[in-house]
Structure formats: structure tokens, C-alpha cells
């Protein structure tokens, strides 16, 4: 069975109201409905352009890294401890959201919501650590006004952080919808796209951890 991710050559059948959607055996709920399947394809495209946003920010960071002016350099400023803790929080949350989708595929709504809540708690923990790190940096006189290097650091990392915050608010809305309406093609698609989004943020974070934090140690 191949997942219809929009790359198929054959267009999907047109849906009429008096023809029920194709509940193909083995196809997950969110893909069985054509409209939801389209939205998943669309969401992959959202991730493409979001990836390009981060690519531009990474490129800028790489160019600005030596431009420390009178401020501290990355090697002077960044500690690996908090970055590793943040990484653990976020990587674990990617695992838990995977389990949530696993339960969703088995129709276990309670377990799914439980694992999403755990995911969001881990995400909130990540955000707390990041904001704490920012506060410490700013208290040491290293704000985004200090140097072009720090401007690009804060823009890159806080864009990711803002995505995490948005993801948390979004997922809370989705959980409320699941509680009110149960799991159907629409809510299942929302949970699924949220999980895609969350994994995506995790991958971006892996690059931030490597380029920003490990990179500063190597330099």
C-alpha cells in the first residue's frame, strides 16, 4: 500500500455527496477521506516553505557568526548543558507524539490524548529552558541588540521557539476538538498534521543544536 502523498501520477477519483468516501481497507482514517488527504499534501508544502525560512536563517547565522562586534562570541556565551537538556526534552516529545499517532491509528482516543498532553508538557519544558537561557544571556548583556551575531542567533533560535509555542497552542485546540467530536477524518487529519509539524521542529532543532551549540564549541 502506498500512501497518497500527492506524488501519484493517477489523480484521485472525484467525490460525490451520494457516493461515500473510499474507506479502503488498511488506509488510515485521515488518508481515506480525499479532502483530508489533500490537506495533508498541502501541509507537506507548508513544511517545505517553512524549511526554506529556516534555511535562510541558518545561512544568515553562518555568515553572521564571526560578526561579534563588541559582544561575546558563541564559544564564550553558550553552555552545552542547557542545550543538551533542551534537546532531550524535544527529542523525547517527538517520540511521544509518534506514540500518540500510533494510538490514534488504533482508535484509542484516551491514550492518544494522554500522549499528546505529555508531548505538550515536554514542549513547554523545552520552551521554559530556552526562555531561561535567553534571560541569562540578556542578563549578561548579550541581547539581540548587542551584535549582528547575536541578532542572528536570537532570530534563528526564537523563530524555532515561536514555532514550538504556536504548536502547543494549536495542539491544545486540536485536543479540545477531539474531546468534543471524537476521532473522525477531520480530527484525525489535524492530529496527524500536528505530528508532522512537531517532528519537523525536532529536525530543525537537531540542526540548531549542531550548528549553533556544538558549532560554537568546535570553533
Amino acid at each position: 500500500m502506498s500512501l497518497p502523498l500527492g506524488t501519484s501520477e493517477e489523480p484521485l477519483p472525484i467525490r460525490f455527496a451520494d457516493e461515500p468516501a473510499h474507506h479502503l481497507a488498511g488506509v488510515p482514517l485521515e488518508f481515506a477521506d480525499e479532502e483530508q488527504s489533500l490537506k495533508i499534501t498541502g501541509f507537506w508544502m507548508v513544511l517545505v516553505t517553512d524549511l526554506l525560512i529556516f534555511a535562510s536563517l541558518f545561512a544568515s547565522y553562518a555568515v553572521y557568526r564571526p560578526m561579534v562586534a563588541a559582544g561575546p562570541s558563541g564559544a564564550q556565551l553558550f553552555g552545552l548543558g542547557s542545550a543538551i537538556a533542551e534537546t532531550l526534552f524535544l527529542l523525547t516529545s517527538s517520540f511521544t507524539v509518534g506514540i500518540a499517532v500510533w494510538y490514534m491509528r488504533r482508535g484509542n482516543q484516551r491514550a492518544m490524548i494522554g500522549w499528546i498532553v505529555l508531548t505538550l508538557l515536554l514542549g513547554a519544558g523545552f520552551l521554559g529552558l530556552e526562555l531561561h537561557e535567553f534571560a541569562v544571556d540578556i542578563a549578561r548583556g548579550a541581547s539581540w541588540q548587542t551584535s549582528a551575531f547575536l541578532s542572528s542567533f536570537f532570530l534563528l533560535v526564537s523563530t524555532h521557539g515561536a514555532h514550538v509555542l504556536f504548536g502547543i497552542l494549536w495542539a491544545v485546540g486540536i485536543v479540545v476538538q477531539v474531546l468534543r467530536r471524537g476521532l473522525n477524518a477531520v480530527t484525525a487529519r489535524k492530529v496527524y498534521t500536528f505530528s508532522l509539524y512537531w517532528h519537523f521542529l525536532d529536525i530543525i532543532w537537531v540542526f540548531i543544536f549542531t550548528v549553533v551549540y556544538l558549532g560554537a564549541k568546535i570553533a
Binding site: 472525484i14 499534501t41 551584535s147
Partner: protein
């Protein structure tokens, strides 16, 4: 601040001296009168409910296309007036009609409006009007997001156009290079207007790109494989990919500038290690693909118009597809040719010079294919076809001067001179504008159910074409004579006078062409020939199988496609010999109920909330910005929790509509 002191501060911030000039006041009065008349008309004819129900809340791609078209033509007017103001200033040496500050504002708004608020919506107008019809779909993939895109664009355009009334227009050029855009050098709010409105419209554009990409990839009629798609659908596909990849760098560049201005970051502040070149690179990483975002749709239009009016299938369809994709890919590897003179070194310049020249190869393939399509055909010289005929030599010359600019040593001589100005107008008017106008004349009957008068249309075409060459031909020579771009006036004695007079005269000829075009539309609304057949041009693609204008659900029955030029094939083979409706042979039992997207007001409110957010950001009035942000969240939350997004259309209702259009035996 006490209350009495607050009022003058507010007045001065909202209406600084550069909003008091006679030209600005004149524009204010005209806009006020126009708005007043609109409100009067809507009230007098009790049309407010109609406006809200049928237009502001619509999710029908055809109506959204119409709204894009109206907006694009209004913006063409505004951008054109800017252009004429510049040309009047330059007609005579030392005879300024407007001062240097205003001149800077006018060339900035001219550029921004023509690219972002005229060309882009015009393209989306055509995509919306025909792409779903061409590929046999009932709507785009995400009808509600389509409305969101439009309202983000519309409110961003409104915000940008508000600048010269409230707060002062931007004056940094459409490229908005730092450090000129830094707060220190440019304290007013004009630059904020430019940055914020482009960020907002950029969100809408990105959503449109995603929407049409998924529409073309996933919504095609059964049997329409990728290689059976009309070329215009290929253009939409390639353009959408370009949008997806090109707008993020622009977003980042604009955001950095905005943060520098509002949050005092140091991205482009030289004293803190900032690097203006970072902006220039990011901007053109967007900017050059953007050139193809506006050019590929025009190529798509030509590839539809030429076969129809030559009575032949498109020559070299496969090579057309491949060359378009090649242009799409190559366009990412040429951005540094916009700043050869910045000193990147010989190796970098050589790379970008050669990659730029490479683009001429696939473009040349396309030009030859259009000509070979005409070769031996029975050509009908309609207005749309005339625009193609005007395009081919004009664009080829524009491409040749582009090769000149791609040759690095030559570029050093003419960089940022009028040669450059002439070149990019040559390709943007000769390519994009001619293409969009060709598309407008070609698909107008499909959009509105009547034709535009051909005689008036041809007059407008000749005024545009001749006016274009009178305007921009001399500007090449002015470039050779060393006249730099963006200068507001010039002294006598450089030998620039005569050429500038000619150029200004040409601009007015183009202005006359615009007036004829508007007259053509208004006249044809009353007297234009009705299109009863749905297929006025003896067309080849599926949109011509539908009545004009198409019903809300587009296709009562989704056609099955077995070849390229599907409608032409249907007309030739067993599915019917006649033109128009007869060829489809709909039977009542083929018609089933249809699920359609339900209208919704949230896209309009989302756009309005973004407008408030943007206005707050422009003036750094954070309370207003937060109110706007709350509005954005409210609109999004409403959309998330709204699960009732469809309406059903019963089969008998559809049969009645089809019968009333003469498509079913009653």
C-alpha cells in the same frame, strides 16, 4: 503626555509634511470621492448584502479571480500614474514637476505596486479564473485558504496605499536596500509600510502557491496525466514551486530589516557587525525567481493562445514542459547578477554571468516553439493573438539586452543606468504585461460571459506596443549616454534632453492605451457580444467545454481525459461533432449531487485583523498591534473550530441549472 500635547503629536505622526503636497491632496480627494461614490452606490441600490454574501465571503475560485483582476487593474492605474509623474519630471532638464523627496517616494511605490500589487494579483486572477476549469476540477484544493490569500493580499495592498495619506510613503526603492532602510537614515514610517505590507501579502502569496501546487498535482480530471495537462497548468505548477522556494528568503530579509527598525537589532548596523550585503543576497535569492514567477504564467498564456488562434496543436509540447522546468531550476542560480559591481570577484561573477546566459537556451526553445506552432497554421489575428505577436520580438530584444547585462564587463558600464531600466521594463512589459493582457482578452468571455470588443482591444494593443517602444527605446540610448536610474532631474548639456522628451511622450501613449483598455471593458459590459456557446474561440482545453461563465460547481459531470487538448479531441471524436454544449452530451442520469465549500466570513476578518496588526507595527503602537494579533488568533480559532464547511447541491438543482443553460434536454 497630557491630552492637549498628545493631539498635535498624533496629527504630526499621522500627517507629516510629506502628506501635504498638492499631488497627495489631489489623490486624497480623488480617493475620497471614489470611496464616497462607492458607498453611495451600494446604499442607493441596497447592494451591501449582495456585496457581503456574493463577494466578501465567497470561496468560489471564479469570483476570487474576478476580485484579483479588479484589484490588479486598479493597481495598474496607481502604478501607471506614478510612472507618468516620473516621466513628466524627466521630460525637461531642470524642470521638476515634483521635488526629489517625492520623486523617491514615487519610484518606490511604482516598483512595489507594479510587482507585488499588480503583476502578482493579475497572475492569480488568471490562475483562479481558469486553472480548475482547465484541469477538470470543481474548485481549488483549499477554497477557504484561497479566500484567505486574497484578503491578505487585498488588505496588504490597502495598507501600502494608505502610506501616502497617513504617515508618508516609503522612499527607499522597491529593493529597499540597507543601510538606507535603517532607522538612523530613514526615520519616518514609510519604510515600515513597505516592509509590513510585503510581509503580509507574502503570507497570502505563499498560501496561493501551496494551493495551486496541490490543485494541479491532485485535482486533475481522471485520465489527465501530467503530460496531458495544458501548458498553463504547467505554468501554474512551476510558478507555485518558485513561490514556495522564493518567498522565504524575502520574508527573512524583510523581517531582519523590520527588527532592525523596531527592535534595534544589528543585522545591518555597520557599527555592530551588521552586513547590508546579507540583505542584498537574500533579497535577490527571492528577486530573481520572482522575475520568473511573473514570467512563467505569461509563457503559459502564450502556449494556450497560440495553438487556439493558429488552429494547430502546440509545437513541441514535451520540450515546452522541459524548458519551463529548466527555467524554474536555473532561476535559483543567477541571483548575484543583480550586483556584479558589488565586488564579489571574478570567479563569482563569471559563474553567475554564465548561469544567467544559460537561461536564454530554454527561453529560446520556447520562442521557437511558439513560432513553429504558428507556422503553417490558419492564424486568426485576435487581440490576444496580437499581444503574442507583439511579445515575441519585444521580449526577444529584451532577452538580448539581458545577455548584454549578463556579460560582466559590459554590465560594469551600464549597471544601474537607464539601460537597465529599459531592459527590465522590456522583459516585464513585453513579457509579463503583454502575457497577462493576452490572457485577459482570451479568457474574458469565459470569466464574464461576453467578449471584449476586438476593434477597441486592438487599438489599445497598438497604443501599448508603440507607446512601449517610444518610451523604452530611447532609454537604452540614455543608458549608453550615462544617465543613471532613480535621478529626479538632470542638468542640460548631457545630450539627454531629446531622448527624454521622446520617452515621456511614449509614456503618455501607453497611458492612452490604458484608457482605451478601460473604455473597452466598460463599453463591452453593455454592448459586448454575448458568448452563448461557451467556446467562442474554438478552443482546445477543458474550460471551453463549460458555459460562460461557468456555474458555481464548474462541471456537472467531471470529464474523462484521454489526450492532450482534451476538449479539441472531444470535438473531433465520437463525443460530438458540434461546437459547444452539444459535444458534451450530458444525460440527466449522469448528474449527481455535489459537495461544495460553504461561504465564510473569516478570511475577510483575518485580512482585516492583519491590517490592524500591520498598522500597529508601522507606527509602533503596540496596543493596536496586540489588538490586531488578538483578531488574527480569533479568526484562526474560528476557522479551526468550524467543522461545517460544506454545502450540498442536489442533483435536481444541478439538472435545472444545466437545463437553463441549454446543456440538458429540458
Amino acid at each position: 503626555m497630557t491630552a492637549p500635547a498628545f493631539v498635535p503629536y498624533l496629527l504630526h505622526t499621522l500627517f507629516p509634511p510629506n502628506t501635504h503636497r498638492p499631488t497627495e491632496i489631489g489623490a486624497d480627494v480623488m480617493m475620497g470621492l471614489g470611496m464616497g461614490y462607492l458607498v453611495y452606490w451600494l446604499t442607493r441600490h441596497r447592494k451591501w448584502g449582495w456585496l457581503w454574501r456574493d463577494w466578501l465571503t465567497t470561496v468560489d475560485h471564479k469570483k476570487i479571480g474576478t476580485m484579483y483582476l479588479i484589484a490588479a487593474i486598479l493597481m495598474l492605474f496607481r502604478g501607471g500614474v506614478d510612472a507618468l509623474m516620473m516621466r513628466v519630471n524627466l521630460a525637461m532638464p531642470h524642470a521638476p514637476f515634483i521635488g526629489p523627496e517625492e520623486y523617491n517616494e514615487v519610484f518606490t511605490t511604482h516598483g512595489v505596486i507594479m510587482i507585488f500589487f499588480m503583476a502578482m494579483p493579475f497572475i492569480f486572477a488568471l490562475f483562479n479564473a481558469v486553472i480548475p476549469l482547465m484541469i477538470g476540477a470543481r474548485d481549488v484544493a483549499f477554497p477557504r485558504l484561497n479566500a484567505v490569500s486574497f484578503w491578505l493580499f487585498a488588505f496588504a495592498a490597502a495598507l501600502f496605499n494608505l502610506a501616502f495619506v497617513v504617515g508618508g510613503a516609503p522612499n527607499v526603492g522597491w529593493t529597499a536596500y540597507p543601510p538606507l532602510t535603517e532607522l538612523h537614515f530613514n526615520p519616518g514610517v514609510g519604510t515600515n509600510y513597505l516592509l509590513v505590507s510585503l510581509l503580509i501579502s507574502g503570507i497570502g502569496t505563499t498560501i496561493t502557491g501551496i494551493n495551486f501546487l496541490v490543485t494541479v498535482l491532485r485535482m486533475r480530471a481522471p485520465g489527465m496525466t501530467l503530460m496531458r495537462m495544458p501548458m498553463f497548468a504547467w505554468a501554474a505548477l512551476n510558478t507555485s514551486v518558485l513561490i514556495l522556494f522564493a518567498f522565504p528568503p524575502l520574508t527573512v530579509a524583510l523581517l531582519m530589516t523590520l527588527l532592525d527598525r523596531l527592535a534595534h537589532t544589528a543585522f545591518f548596523t555597520l557599527s555592530h557587525g551588521g552586513m547590508p550585503m546579507m540583505y542584498v543576497n537574500l533579497f535577490w535569492l527571492f528577486g530573481h525567481p520572482e522575475v520568473y514567477i511573473v514570467a512563467l504564467p505569461a509563457y503559459g498564456v502564450f502556449s494556450e493562445v497560440v495553438p487556439t488562434f493558429s488552429g494547430k496543436r502546440l509545437f513541441g509540447y514535451t520540450s515546452m514542459v522541459v524548458s519551463m522546468a529548466a527555467i524554474m531550476v536555473l532561476s535559483y542560480g543567477v541571483w548575484a547578477h543583480h550586483f556584479f559591481t558589488m565586488g564579489a570577484g571574478a570567479a563569482v561573477n563569471a559563474f553567475f554571468g554564465i548561469s544567467t546566459m544559460l537561461i536564454a537556451i530554454p527561453t529560446g526553445v520556447k520562442i521557437f516553439n511558439w513560432i513553429f506552432t504558428m507556422w503553417g497554421g490558419r492564424i486568426r489575428f485576435t487581440t490576444a493573438m496580437l499581444y503574442v505577436m507583439g511579445f515575441i520580438p519585444t521580449f526577444t530584444i529584451g532577452g538580448a539586452t539581458g545577455m548584454f547585462l549578463a556579460t560582466v564587463p559590459a554590465d560594469y558600464q551600464v549597471h544601474n543606468s537607464y539601460f537597465l531600466v529599459a531592459h527590465f521594463h522590456n522583459v516585464l512589459i513585453g513579457g509579463t504585461v503583454f502575457g497577462l493582457l493576452a490572457g485577459m482578452y482570451y479568457w474574458w468571455p469565459k470569466m464574464f460571459g461576453y467578449r471584449l470588443d476586438e476593434r477597441q482591444g486592438k487599438l489599445a494593443f497598438w497604443l501599448f506596443l508603440i507607446g512601449f517602444w517610444i518610451t523604452f527605446g530611447p532609454q537604452y540610448l540614455l543608458g549608453f549616454k550615462g544617465m543613471p536610474r532613480r535621478m529626479w532631474t538632470y542638468p542640460a548639456g548631457h545630450g539627454w534632453h531629446l531622448l527624454n522628451v521622446i520617452s515621456t511622450a511614449g509614456a503618455f501613449v501607453m497611458g492612452a492605451g490604458f484608457l482605451v483598455l478601460v473604455y473597452n471593458v466598460l463599453w463591452s459590459m453593455r454592448h459586448g457580444e454575448r458568448d452563448a456557446s461557451g467556446d467562442p474561440w474554438n478552443g482546445r482545453t477543458l474550460e471551453w467545454s463549460l458555459p460562460s461563465p461557468a456555474p458555481e460547481y464548474n462541471f456537472a459531470r467531471i470529464p474523462t481525459v484521454s489526450s492532450l487538448d482534451a476538449w479539441w479531441a472531444m470535438k473531433q471524436t465520437g463525443q460530438g461533432r458540434g461546437r459547444g454544449a452539444a459535444a458534451l452530451r450530458l444525460r440527466p442520469q449522469d448528474i449527481h449531487a455535489i459537495e461544495l465549500p460553504r461561504n465564510t466570513g473569516y478570511p475577510f476578518f483575518l485580512g482585516a485583523a492583519f491590517f490592524v496588526l500591520g498598522f500597529g507595527l508601522v507606527f509602533s503602537w503596540w496596543v493596536i498591534a496586540l489588538l490586531g494579533l488578538a483578531g488574527v488568533w480569533a479568526a484562526l480559532a474560528y476557522a479551526w473550530f468550524d467543522h461545517d464547511q460544506h454545502k450540498h447541491m442536489r442533483a435536481d438543482e444541478i439538472r435545472r441549472i444545466e437545463a437553463s443553460m441549454g446543456r440538458l434536454p429540458a
